[in-house]
């Protein structure tokens, strides 16, 4: 009899455990990510965490994100770790974010090589990951179903710049210098096509190791070809070395473009030599697209100068896409949110995002030019904050 009672009690407890205990009410939306706060990519992403903290505060000041199924707004919390610009560290922390921190959504790490490795975790656990600064086509060519980038492919990086040059018709020849890295090679592949489309002939095309220190030979080759435009597909440290040597050797093209040269490190290192160079940027003050007031508030809270940290800003559209996905799905169910992200056009501070298949988005950086040490967007007309000066 006693045994029977025990069995019944156990059965009641088990059934209560399965069905009877109400689920703990969710009171915060947790978003997880890693960022290269230290290491090789820290020159453009070291303040990433500070920006995320500030955007979280700005979003929570507005009450958080509305979840229809709960009929209330929930505050957000971004849990992030420093991946040291190391793919394996990033992988380890994404495992932690999923299994220990139990985040609701994942944002991909900035930087293509890191995103390449980290995205395997998302795919393995079927856990959607929204990527900000990761645009190399290889990331999205593996048939992964659980990664979605907000950017267009790296081959479209300078799409607007060449569209502008094509319309103006002043630049006829270009030299292409490519840093041998995942991102830069992707950008260069696009430049070759975009230049052709814009009627620009590439007269020099050189890919150079990322740690190269001596640019004498390539500079001499460019001087001899005398192109209107020198386009350098690279990260800032490589460009700084190249630009300094090129200036010393007397290379002064009518236009100089560097794909990541809106970064503050370039302007600080080159001083007056940076005047008139063009590059790509994601957002500058004065651009009034999407929920720009939230971004301005976040920048005020953080005290960060957006023109100093142009590349870290690309994570903001990724957050806006997650926010819109939750609002449109009306639930925190990951599957539903991911479906909403992939099937809706979402306005962001950098333009309208749309998933166009295979994990690729539609946002492209905008061309900028340095005037008096400041960065101004020069194209397209809807986002323009300054005029393009040619020759520089």
């Amino acid at each position: 009899m006693k045994n029977m009672t025990q069995k019944m009690l156990a059965a009641v407890l088990v059934s209560f455990g399965i069905a009877g205990v109400p689920a703990r009410a969710q009171n915060v939306i947790k978003i997880g990510a890693t960022a290269p706060i230290t290491g090789a990519l820290s020159s453009i992403y070291s303040i990433q965490g500070k920006l995320w903290d500030a955007w979280t505060q700005a979003q929570n000041e507005a009450g958080g994100i509305y979840v229809k199924s709960l009929n209330k707004k929930l505050p957000i919390k971004i849990i992030y770790y420093d991946d040291k610009s190391d793919p394996k560290v990033s992988v380890k922390f994404y495992e932690r974010l999923i299994s220990e921190d139990k985040v609701d959504f994942l944002m991909g790490p900035p930087g293509s090589p890191i995103a390449f490795a980290a995205s395997t975790v998302a795919e393995r656990y079927k856990f959607p990951m929204i990527h900000g600064a990761a645009s190399d086509p290889q990331i999205y060519s593996r048939g992964f179903k659980y990664i979605q980038g907000v950017l267009g492919p790296a081959t479209d990086w300078s799409h607007y710049f060449f569209e502008m040059l094509g319309k103006q018709g002043k630049v006829k020849t270009a030299a292409l210098v490519v840093e041998d890295s995942l991102y830069s090679r992707g950008v260069a592949a696009g430049v070759r096509q975009l230049a052709k489309k814009a009627g620009i002939k590439i007269v020099v095309d050189q890919t150079i190791p990322a740690d190269n220190q001596d640019f004498t030979a390539v500079t001499a080759q460019i001087k001899q070809a005398n192109p209107d435009l020198v386009y350098v597909a690279t990260f800032p440290p490589f460009y700084i070395r190249f630009a300094k040597q090129a200036a010393e050797l007397g290379l002064k093209p009518k236009a100089m473009h560097c794909s990541t040269c809106s970064a503050v490190s370039v302007r600080n290192a080159l001083g007056s030599e940076a005047e008139g160079i063009t590059g790509e940027v994601f957002w500058v003050p004065g651009m009034k697209l999407g929920d720009y007031k939230m971004l301005e508030r976040a920048l005020t809270i953080s005290g960060l100068d957006p023109v100093q940290w142009t590349f870290a800003l690309i994570s903001i559209p990724a957050l806006e896409v997650i926010r819109a996905g939750i609002e449109k799905a009306g639930t925190l169910d990951r599957k539903a949110v991911y479906a909403a992200i992939q099937s809706n056009e979402i306005p962001t501070v950098m333009g309208t995002f749309k998933a166009v298949g295979k994990g690729v988005g539609t946002l492209n950086p905008l061309p900028m030019q340095v005037h008096d040490g400041k960065v101004g967007v020069i194209y397209p007309p809807a986002a323009k904050t300054a005029d393009y000066i040619y020759p520089r």
Partner: protein, 345 residues
């Protein structure tokens, strides 16, 4: 006679203790995929890889005093061979069989010219080999993917790679212990103490150094293959970069080069410190990491294993102290060479 019997009994007891400890560690690791989370699996996976690299690095450095700064070249070759074979549709079995074969051939091929050098020259030359491999991996684009890297489809489960990494880690520890007890180990130690005298005593020092180099290449190559299988992506910097090159060296020196458990303790210590700093400290992690390393270097110059606490444990579990070190007190700075060897009396 009685004293001898007591010694034999005592040694048997100590070896039994060591075996029990090893079995407990293997069993404890084996249940992690069942009881732990994916994060624990991932954390231990990378720890196993680190221990494998540090322990095998110490086969050459610890026994012979030759600092192979290019030790991770075997890891990198293993990763690339695995990736290339998988991409070519060779299958997992072949992709796992090729790395040790090729790295042993490679290690023997480079060993002959390298062992004509000694001291700092040997260390620099091995580092040069690593840089050559990095350049080759960056430029043989059709084979390696160049700086863009090489990728393979992701695995559905991390358990196979976890157990493989665990197996390699324990194999590396056992290999070190075996060498310490073998004639090869004695020959290597004699070479370390005085190469000319060892030659004069009939030891073919070149041959045993090549054996040691080849032995130290097998497990890292498999670790590289396992890493590639788990990560599904490798690029020249991850395989042959300077950052990764010094990790096993630092782990072995920090733990205590020339002791069986030194590289293991060094790897665990660095992993734990990194994990705590990177997970719980928002800023200045690198600075704090550096301070920890400096403190260990100043206060425990022979490595953690030669601090009195660890040395006692080492002796207690019956692992041989194959350099005849006298354990010295914690925080006592003694004279010693770059490996921490010297007058510890």
């Amino acid at each position: 006679m009685t004293a001898k019997l007591t010694d034999v009994h005592s040694r048997r007891f100590k070896y039994r203790s060591a075996l029990i400890l090893l079995a407990a560690a293997i069993l404890g690791s084996a249940v992690v995929p069942i009881l732990g989370t994916s994060y624990h699996i991932s954390l231990l996976f990378f720890l196993f890889i680190s221990i494998t690299l540090a322990s095998t690095y110490d086969i050459l450095a610890g026994f012979t005093g030759y600092l192979n700064l290019g030790h991770v070249v075997f890891f990198g070759i293993g990763a690339y061979v695995f990736g290339i074979t998988m991409q070519a549709g060779g299958g997992t079995a072949l992709a796992l069989a090729l790395p040790p074969l090729l790295t042993v051939l490679f290690s023997v091929a480079i060993a002959y010219p390298l062992f004509r050098l000694r001291g700092a020259y040997f260390a620099i030359a091995t580092f040069g080999i690593l840089k050559v491999m990095e350049v080759l991996a960056s430029n043989l684009r059709d084979l390696t993917g160049g700086t863009t890297g090489l990728s393979i489809p992701p695995t559905s489960s991390t358990e196979i790679t976890f157990y493989m990494a665990g197996g390699l880690c324990f194999a590396a520890i056992i290999l070190n212990a075996w060498i310490a007890h073998s004639r090869l180990g004695l020959g290597l130690l004699a070479t370390r103490e005085d190469e000319e005298v060892a030659e004069g005593s009939g030891i073919n020092t070149t041959r045993i150094k090549i054996y040691a180099m080849a032995l130290s290449a097998i497990l890292p190559s498999l670790a590289g293959a396992t890493y590639m299988w788990q990560m599904t992506y490798i690029d020249p910097a991850s395989a042959f970069g300077s950052d990764i090159a010094f990790v096993p060296v630092i782990m072995a020196l920090l733990g205590g080069s020339g002791t069986i458990l030194g590289p293991v303790i060094g790897a665990i210590f660095l992993t734990v410190v990194e994990e705590v700093l990177w997970s719980h400290v928002g800023y200045l992690q690198l600075t704090m990491y550096g301070i920890v390393l400096i403190c260990v270097g100043i206060f425990m110059p022979g490595g953690l294993m030669r601090s009195s606490i660890f040395a006692r444990l080492h002796a207690r579990i019956g692992l041989p102290n194959h350099y005849g070190y006298q354990p010295y007190r914690l925080f006592r700075i003694t004279r010693g060479d770059s490996n921490g060897r010297g007058d510890h009396q």
